[in-house]
Symmetry: D3
Subunit: 278 residues, 6 copies
Amino acid sequence: MINNFELDDQIKSALKEDIALGDITTDSLIDNDAMSKAVFISKDTGIIAGLDVSERVFKILDERVAFKKNVKDGCSVKKGDILAEISGPTLALLKAERTALNFLQHLSGIATKTNEYAKIVKDYDVRIVDTRKTTPGLRRLEKYAVKVGGGHNHRYCLSDGVLIKDNHIVAAGGIRQAIKKVRDNIPHTIKIEIETETMDQVNEALEARADIIMLDNMSLEMMKEAVKLINKRAIIEASGNVNLDTVLKIAETGVDIISVGALTHTVKAFDISMRFVS
Amino acid sequence: MINNFELDDQIKSALKEDIALGDITTDSLIDNDAMSKAVFISKDTGIIAGLDVSERVFKILDERVAFKKNVKDGCSVKKGDILAEISGPTLALLKAERTALNFLQHLSGIATKTNEYAKIVKDYDVRIVDTRKTTPGLRRLEKYAVKVGGGHNHRYCLSDGVLIKDNHIVAAGGIRQAIKKVRDNIPHTIKIEIETETMDQVNEALEARADIIMLDNMSLEMMKEAVKLINKRAIIEASGNVNLDTVLKIAETGVDIISVGALTHTVKAFDISMRFVS
Amino acid sequence: MINNFELDDQIKSALKEDIALGDITTDSLIDNDAMSKAVFISKDTGIIAGLDVSERVFKILDERVAFKKNVKDGCSVKKGDILAEISGPTLALLKAERTALNFLQHLSGIATKTNEYAKIVKDYDVRIVDTRKTTPGLRRLEKYAVKVGGGHNHRYCLSDGVLIKDNHIVAAGGIRQAIKKVRDNIPHTIKIEIETETMDQVNEALEARADIIMLDNMSLEMMKEAVKLINKRAIIEASGNVNLDTVLKIAETGVDIISVGALTHTVKAFDISMRFVS
Amino acid sequence: MINNFELDDQIKSALKEDIALGDITTDSLIDNDAMSKAVFISKDTGIIAGLDVSERVFKILDERVAFKKNVKDGCSVKKGDILAEISGPTLALLKAERTALNFLQHLSGIATKTNEYAKIVKDYDVRIVDTRKTTPGLRRLEKYAVKVGGGHNHRYCLSDGVLIKDNHIVAAGGIRQAIKKVRDNIPHTIKIEIETETMDQVNEALEARADIIMLDNMSLEMMKEAVKLINKRAIIEASGNVNLDTVLKIAETGVDIISVGALTHTVKAFDISMRFVS
Amino acid sequence: MINNFELDDQIKSALKEDIALGDITTDSLIDNDAMSKAVFISKDTGIIAGLDVSERVFKILDERVAFKKNVKDGCSVKKGDILAEISGPTLALLKAERTALNFLQHLSGIATKTNEYAKIVKDYDVRIVDTRKTTPGLRRLEKYAVKVGGGHNHRYCLSDGVLIKDNHIVAAGGIRQAIKKVRDNIPHTIKIEIETETMDQVNEALEARADIIMLDNMSLEMMKEAVKLINKRAIIEASGNVNLDTVLKIAETGVDIISVGALTHTVKAFDISMRFVS
Amino acid sequence: MINNFELDDQIKSALKEDIALGDITTDSLIDNDAMSKAVFISKDTGIIAGLDVSERVFKILDERVAFKKNVKDGCSVKKGDILAEISGPTLALLKAERTALNFLQHLSGIATKTNEYAKIVKDYDVRIVDTRKTTPGLRRLEKYAVKVGGGHNHRYCLSDGVLIKDNHIVAAGGIRQAIKKVRDNIPHTIKIEIETETMDQVNEALEARADIIMLDNMSLEMMKEAVKLINKRAIIEASGNVNLDTVLKIAETGVDIISVGALTHTVKAFDISMRFVS
């Protein structure tokens, strides 16, 4: 649950970006006391995320707007479904419409795509997780949408998870040294993940007691070998070349985690429109 | 040209979103005075947008970083091209990498897609324009990327352009009344656009001297008829059902403007990676 | 209509500027639960603007304050008129008084002056418009007050209107080239205005199909000649040397727009005071 | 001396208010690397205030701009004087011009008016001081301009000075009680001022050892009587009905302080323009 | 009384510092509609300050939380006392707990320590005052807590009080010159304080009519001598080496003001915990 | 390493809190071009933290200030040691002094106290860690100071670590259920910690494979028993009643982590002063 105080500034910025100095069309034509009713209609099939955010967009514009949700975040909807009924001052409905939909369509797009991945691997004990390849400024909401869609989150940022890469290993003088140095420095509450590209590296990582081993761009064969080698001694993350065609095969290798950058870096807006009703 | 003071707050927010309390991996492993060199390599084909922004990400992190651009925003690149060479403190390179790429990949994705549309219609006197369906918080940058890709901008927000829609017309009591009322209220520097769905509405809009007439979701036949009817007396914008398959046919109808929501609401990140070099 | 979320930050800043660390006089002397009633009394004759803003000042300080408006923005008032009745915690009334009045007196001063201009030219089909010579930070409110006073707005800022000046023309290599280059770049929703000082320039501007032609500091004779020459083919704006003595003569020349910097750059506060009543 | 960090946010806000999404005229016509020279020319006679602020406007836009001041804040200038020479990227000069002048003209207007008052009373041992009737958001700069013009500042806000008014006295149960209660509460570093309208009140205030006694809207005769009665036992401030015609007579009564709301609530912009030179 | 608008931004920042991206423990385990009751229990003896602030922390998180105060700021409490009863959504109670307590414990710690000083000198006509040695960002709240604890405030910052130190005197060329120069520049509402270390300096300060004379790090003997010499002609502040052991002796010297840096620079959190009740 | 962009806003806020509208003493007495030299002298024995922050305070005030560090954060200093030499405009030195010292003294106080704890247990394989009991707004800096003093950090906030408490367990229906539910929800990169008060709870936590087990307010005997029972199967944190007298005994029990709220909730400023030198 995201509280209002956590998002209000972002929503206000988005509204200001669009309204700026007023809606010169609407302000010229619509009376202050005109009231209207409208609905959000789905024109697509998938998972909804961001309804609370779009409700809040209307409320910030004018607290008199009533926003009745027919579905909740995480619900599966299809073309033609009425997602919400919105009533209140016509001015507010017209001014908030685009901003509310921009949030909702973007987040529902992410939830829907995440869900496609999650459904494919649903018979495996594996998580579909996001990455740090998010849209600048929207990470919290995008990671929220991933969860709504049935995925899980990877580390939120550089501070709440460790990922040791090539350059780190070189700088530290080896996998063992890198893991030790990191472990000595970070809070005891955080696990250590390390990127590997070869079986030798996997072995070294195991010996250094890495908590999580990332198999970076490995072939399916290599992944299977690694899973066997690791044998539950570390959490295994598969990364690279993951798409809707490959994800099942990757899940079959027995990895625990499959990270998918495209969940957030390549988003198809979920088609929703607002229609006035009488 | 976008000046630093216009974007710095947004870049700092994006950096803080990712770095938060420090990069616990890198801070544990890399010396303060270690220096490195890296390159941005294109792994895709298309148009680059956002190089100045990503340079600024590094500079804000540490002003000692040197960022040498091999290409400029608007250049066409292909897989394997080196876009920029970055050198400076290793800490800064590692901490800024993801944020810099998140901006660059998103904006280059928009420029590339815009360019695909623009190239298809390049033999017609028609503009590919964006809409207000942008990512909350990123409108300025996304509209910049559309121009870099060879498109044009529609109104930036609700304040700098008029678009009279159904509900406005109903509230005003007709197209003529709506246009008159708006014209009396808005600055004399702004044109008036009105949405139409039938030839009758086009006619009315013409009689009321609309500056721009939007043909909303019309068939190709209707569009042709409208173009003929309008006969240069107003700017004509085609809207709805525009995609890479339909855009050429729409351009052939003789409209002046084709607006494409997908330029900004459905973005495929342009694949770019940072590689350390020695 | 300006929504609360659009102004609240500005009002809070203004309040913090005055209250800072508390009102040490009032906090020492007035009980938390003392209640009072006060009125805003006009001590001047003119047009009121900013009542909603000053109501909001009190509400932000303490939402229990009741603010009953006897007049609305745009109303004409005279000395002795009661503009509003304010009741609530004495502490809030005393702390918000100055800030609320500073907004209200400034904006009413602008509305009143604008109205003087507008009344003088009321028999002509001409607009009195503002300029970008506004008080830093207050542009939106000042432009709002101009409209309340019966004026119209010119472009809000550098982004929503084109004004081609001398230096632009020189840089572009001539009026024709400048207009073409701008037209190719800007959104199709915005008109092009160009500054002219001679009949030759007016002619060139017409040939290049400028939408708006500014007659800069021209004599009345020249203006008349220009109006005749342009003959409705462009909107005509008179600029320079406009004051209450000259504005009627300028209107008589037949121009469409008269811009007056002094509406916002030289503001006489409208005298209003708050008086406690029992 | 005001340091950059104290004003930069305000200057950036003012610039963003005007530039918003770019200067669509200038961005279309001027090359990124075009360089120009311009001067600020006075078109008025008076005292300059705000040159450092306007220099900073240009620097924030583009740090390559050189701003050579020919005069300093506080200098007296006349029509035709060159105040500063500005050189650098043409884009920056054109984009910053209006914002820089809006600050400079407003502040110089205040300094000039203050100076008119100060010169009239220059043979008396009396201060011309400002009030809290300032433009919302600009108090610091406006109070700075008052000092530059030869005036002095009254309390900055409700926290750094005490002014006991009617309602305070009533609430406290009398002048003596009010002064005692305030003295017990406030920091020992701040003086206590009290408003008086009759000789009786002046007497009471003296007995209660007020540090400063304000003579509110008193006639010249009463003021003289009060000055005699007080006889240096408190600082005396005259308030109300002060204008350029009355200020000398008021000074002659022997008061120490004359406060003038109009210094800041009614500002006439000082006419300055920027001219490009070759 | 501190109004909400004055503290809300600071409280929100504190909450965001702790909640960041959500409370992953609580969000995983507690239902959105679970409701709870809890109490704030004192585990210490002293003076409470900050209850309104901590109430506001809960309200900002979720306005449905009810916060019933059993005591008010300034009350003396002992171990086991119930300070407040809090009821509402369990999620809100758990998420706001730490931030609310961090404010309350810090401020109550200051009030408690101030009160210890104030009680020791309660039979003398002397004030215990704070200094500018406060925690960055918390000055207003800390100075509030000092007053709640029975102390008084010294100047809030560099703008609302004068304190002339060594370096100032040297730069001005002597005590007399320094005081005169300052008096000519500052608002007439503010007193002048000067630091002295010898009887000669005290004498000079008296002759220059300093309003307040600080005895800096003087021995008790010297302080007594200075008090005698000054003989009510200036307010006397003792500064330096003040602690719970020395403060009574210092008060006995007859000084008016004793400033204690440790009130705010060395704070012992007052022990309070939140306990869920059924 | 903390980059400037991460702290500048906080430093500017702190400076504005103190300088507000200028230093009226210094601005009256010191010339703009006067230059001075000063030193930071330790008047205490301990560990320094925050020198970079205090350097930045001066630089933000005036970038011409040179700040030469004689020691680095983490160094041990004694009374009389010169920590840094500062030279530049006298105005800047005087205005920044207090704010720079407020940061430095607070952070050095934390580092020094942490170091006392760390030294006592230095022969044991145990970490001294901080808690979330930090000063609102200063968490990042305070946690930095803890590390500088030889301590380690616990979770930064509610998002980057799990701590399951009583109420969570009750809500989930037991320890096993709580741990499972949390594990299913959180990122795979974060460990799970649970509070225990009895051996039974420790046992249950072990069975549910908690990563970290907190022994809450247990006696030394119980802690020893728990250490033996857990037998390296989980990280063990001791919490409650930790002070300089008890910490060694606690370390001797064999726990891995000792958390100490007092490191940050009860801070004794480290005594440092700035002295002008010639």
